[in-house]
């Protein structure tokens, strides 16, 4: 069964026991051992694969060599017959027969090696898939263990420091109140600034017709008029 499957079963029973059973250190170790075994199997299969592939190549070369040798010997046998040396031709034919037997043997091993290569490649593929699956399971088991232990540590810490956990609603209210207080303080500061600060002074000065900004409109109008006149002159 998958780890998630086990967790569902346990959760249906008692959530409290979950921490102890699923995240059991021995359980995690068993998974780790399985991953280790699968890794060893892969390493072994890869080693074997190299050897078998080398033998496969060797047998291919042997087949080529035997075929070439048979071809060469057959030519020699024909030449011997041409020169009416039947004895010699027979001797060569015996050699050819030997080579043919060798060729058959090599062809047979070559086919066997090819089957072995395919089998090893499949084995590696399935082992790798198994490792991925098991690593995921270890990850889930360890994370569950971690979360439960962390929660335990946090709960104990809260208990030890005497800062008891307040309710969620209470927390929310405190945070909101603090934010409101801050907003109120900022509004108050702004009001104060308006009344007693620089802004208040500037407002009073403007009211009394004192300050840089008083004649701004007039200044702008003057600038616009001057521009219009300059344009008119340029036209004339």
């Amino acid at each position: 069964m998958s780890v998630i499957g086990k967790m569902v079963t346990l959760l249906r029973g008692s959530a409290r026991e979950l921490g102890d059973s699923i995240v059991d250190a021995n359980g995690a170790r068993i998974y780790e051992q399985e991953v280790l075994d699968a890794r060893n199997a892969i390493a072994k299969a890869k080693g074997e694969l190299t050897g078998v592939m080398a033998k496969e190549m060797q047998s291919a070369r042997e087949i080529e060599r035997a075929r070439a040798e048979i071809e060469r010997l057959e030519k020699l046998a024909v030449e011997a017959l041409d020169k009416e040396k039947a004895d010699l031709a027979e001797e060569v034919a015996a050699k050819i027969a030997e080579q043919e037997a060798e060729l058959d043997a090599q062809t047979q091993s070559h086919a066997n090696y090819a089957i072995q290569v395919g089998r090893l490649k499949d084995l590696i593929k399935t082992s790798e898939a198994r490792i991925r699956e098991q690593e995921r399971e270890v990850q889930i088991a360890k994370t569950t263990e971690n979360v439960y232990k962390a929660t335990q540590a946090i709960s104990e810490n809260i208990g030890a420091t005497g800062s008891k956990l307040i309710s969620a609603k209470e927390s929310l209210e405190r945070i909101k109140k603090r934010h409101e207080d801050l907003a109120d303080r900022m509004t108050a500061a702004e009001t104060l600034d308006k009344e007693f600060g620089l802004k208040a002074l500037e407002a009073k000065l403007a009211e009394a017709g004192i300050g840089e900004n008083i004649h701004r409109k007039e200044q702008v109008m003057e600038r616009i008029r001057a521009r219009r006149e300059a344009a008119a002159e340029a036209k004339a």
């Binding site: 959530a15 990850q139 929660t151 307040i166 309710s167 609603k169 934010h179």
Partner: protein, 138 residues
Amino acid sequence: MKSLQERIVGLDVLISARLGGVSVSLQPIPGAVPVVQAVIGGREELPIFITASDDQILCICYLWTEAEIVPEKRVELLELLLDLNPSIPLSSFGHVDNRYVLYGALTQDARADDIACDVATLSDNALDALEALSSYLL
């Protein structure tokens, strides 16, 4: 492999920067597994706990306990949490022991800035979720 402490160097500054300069303090929690508590200024009641296993980093915010749920609204709340899960950026609801949590999971190779992003988002999401779901709580 880097330890949790090594991985979160400068995290307080990074979280602070993401939350507009509020104060952030990091505090290791003693226990069987590495846990660091991040307390965010103005949200002291909702600390974020950062913990690491071999494969991942988890940022967890504890929301409420089983006992705090309005009993007759429990099933409705659970369905709502499942419905909300895919929509909430970076964080998911979960249940550990008798506590409901909001958490974000990161790869163990996550950079400090990625963790900061997760913690800041988690804090925003947790506050948001508490406010939105407070009618289900006692």
